[in-house]
């Protein structure tokens, strides 16, 4: 959302998700650039209606998971096989692959830990949700029971027309 600083938006505030879903194609057919909708709960079909790209967070999840998996295996190889060979379960094989079943629970936990934390931290960084950051609140009830639609404009002279169209499409309030 760093683009918000130099891009101009007009916001329409709605109080019904159904009205929002109808307004998106209606406003777009009139040439308005509907960029995003902020909703307090997930609306089925919203991403498709907005034509949003699929999130890439699941790719990062896979990469963090692989990292956690390899780190755990490397750690246990070093600790229990290389540095201090352990007799695991009364089977003194001292071979990594023969003792692998004993390493799986730790590997699993480490994979999940890294994947989950990595994803959450990535999401926070990407959304600029860090401690001390001033939140960008468009409407006080946008995380409560109202929906905010962002329409991009190029210069302020367009604003009046866009605001009128937003109201016509069912917005209860508009904001520049």
């Amino acid at each position: 959302m760093s683009a918000a600083k130099h891009k101009k938006f007009v916001y329409g505030i709605f109080n019904d998700d159904d009205v929002v879903m109808h307004a998106i194609p209606a406003l777009r057919s009139k040439g308005l650039r509907v960029k995003d909708v902020i909703s307090p709960f997930p609306i089925h079909g919203l991403d498709d209606a907005l034509g949003l790209e699929r999130t890439r967070i699941s790719i990062t999840c896979f990469l963090y998971g692989m990292t956690g998996c390899s780190l755990a295996l490397l750690m246990m190889y070093y600790m229990n096989i290389f540095d201090w060979p352990m007799d695991i379960g009364g089977k003194p094989s001292f071979a990594f692959y023969k003792n692998l079943p004993a390493f799986i629970p730790v590997t699993f936990e480490s994979t999940v830990l890294c994947a989950a934390h990595g994803m959450v931290i990535t999401f926070f960084l990407r959304s600029k949700l860090l401690p001390g950051v001033e939140p960008h609140v468009i409407h006080p009830r946008m995380a409560d029971d109202h929906f905010v639609m962002a329409v991009q404009i190029d210069n302020d002279s367009e604003a009046a027309n866009v605001e009128a169209q937003l109201r016509a499409a069912g917005a209860i309030e508009t904001k520049k």
């Binding site: 109808h22 089925h44 079909g45 209606a49 699929r54 379960g89 089977k91 079943p101 799986i104």
Partner: protein
């Protein structure tokens, strides 16, 4: 994306069970029958184990579908309303599986279950087994037969009841029939939780009577439930391939694919939990189970693990994969083969030990090689499986052709038609 448009149910007609498909199913059943007769004619040691193994999968597919159907009612699931007819049709195989199971155990029980040997619980008999005698409060023929008859009576009753109420929805009694099914489904799930555990001890775990695993009920459940989800995926994608069920969108396919993916992981979790604890503790009375499989069935044992875990994990992980009709169909076949191998590993090695005892008792040459006989997978086994698949395909298609492919007047239908994820 159709979010607001009104979608009509277009599948008002039943499935057309064409004479060609009837023929294919019949030919498959004949192949199975020939394989079974050939096994009996050649006194194949694995005959009874093959029958139990394949009939268990056949029964499991029907039982898993009935369980899944009951969960859909109890949880008041919306999205699955359009796939309820295939689930109902799959469950109708239960009485047939029950009759075959009773025949197999009545005629061949002694070849399968060590505890069924005569005199084994009699302290004065030559083959007295103290451990088995200690288990005879549960594992005795009278109680066993009462249980087996009860299992199939309960499951068949509910599978037919769910379908009967669903047909009453078609007839116009929509929501009241749904609510009836929801109540019966709750009762079924309680009974299922008990019968499923005891059933897996009775049919499979008691083959190796000395051995036990407290996880076995769950493990068996995860195996046959994934198999039934794979069968469901195959049936739904086949119906779509034939132009039926236009209501089933890629969103529904995605959910079915997710279930296959998730329960493959669930199966792996239980497989590994059972294996790892026994491997780690290394107690002789427990570890013999895995030693037999590792030493003599290593290829199949490992193949089952890789096919059932690595293949679905890698191939079904992405969202796009779960939405491709033919990929889902392909994966359902792969998962079926994987669990076919896994049930082989559960049933056959143990019964081959018993076959070895019998051979040693009856013939001198049997005693010569220590009475050890090991199973294998060959044409006879594959033929038996083809026969059971043909039987399942015949019954399922028969019931699909008896009622419209989508339930009419289902209270969740509107939600299911608009399902989007």
């Amino acid at each position: 994306m159709g979010h607001h448009g009104h979608i009509e149910v277009t599948s008002t007609q039943p499935y057309n069970f064409s004479s060609r498909n009837r023929m294919i199913a019949m030919v498959m059943m004949v192949i199975g029958l020939v394989a079974i007769i050939a096994q009996f004619a050649t006194h194949h040691e694995q005959t009874w184990a093959n029958l139990l193994w394949n009939n268990f999968i056949f029964m499991g597919m029907a039982l898993g579908a009935t369980f899944f159907l009951a969960v859909q009612y109890v949880a008041e699931v919306g999205w699955s309303a359009v796939i309820k007819r295939p689930l109902e049709a799959m469950g109708q195989s239960l009485p047939v599986a029950g009759v075959i199971m009773i025949l197999i155990i009545a005629l061949g029980g002694k070849h399968l279950y060590h505890w069924m040997d005569g005199g084994i619980t009699d302290p004065n008999a030559a083959n007295y087994d103290e451990i088995i005698a200690g288990k005879s409060a549960y594992l005795n023929p009278v109680f066993f037969w009462v249980r087996v008859v009860l299992y199939f009576a309960i499951w068949t009753y509910f599978a037919r009841l769910f379908r009967a109420n669903s047909l009453r929805m078609d007839a116009g009694e929509g929501t009241p029939a749904y609510i009836k099914n929801r109540r019966y489904a709750a009762a079924f799930l309680v009974l299922f939780a008990i019968t499923e555990s005891t059933m897996s001890w009775d049919f499979i775990m008691s083959i190796e009577t000395h051995w036990y695993s407290t996880l076995f009920g769950w493990y068996t459940f995860s195996g046959f439930f994934v198999t039934s989800l794979a069968a469901l995926a195959f049936i739904v994608t086949y119906l779509k391939h034939k132009g039926y069920l236009p209501e089933v969108s890629e969103h529904h396919l995605h959910d079915i694919g997710k279930f296959m993916f998730a329960f493959s992981i669930f199966w792996t979790y239980l497989w590994f939990a059972q294996f790892m604890l026994i491997w780690y503790s290394n107690i002789p009375e427990e570890v013999t189970y895995f030693m037999l499989r590792q030493d003599h069935y290593r290829g199949i044992w490992l193949a089952a693990f890789f096919i059932n875990f690595i293949a679905p994990f890698i191939i079904l992980m992405s969202r796009d994969a779960k939405r491709k009709k033919y990929l889902v169909m392909f994966m359902s076949a792969i998962i079926f083969i994987g669990h076919w191998l896994d049930f082989y590993i559960m049933v056959v090695p143990g019964s081959m030990v018993i076959a070895g005892h019998h051979a040693a008792a009856h013939a001198a040459e049997g005693a010569a090689h220590g009475g050890q006989i090991f199973g294998s997978i060959g044409l006879m086994e594959i033929g038996t499986t083809i026969g059971f698949i043909g039987l399942f395909a015949y019954i399922t298609q028969h019931f699909l052709s008896k009622s419209p492919l989508v339930v009419k007047n289902h209270p969740m239908m509107e939600e299911s038609l608009h399902h989007a994820i």
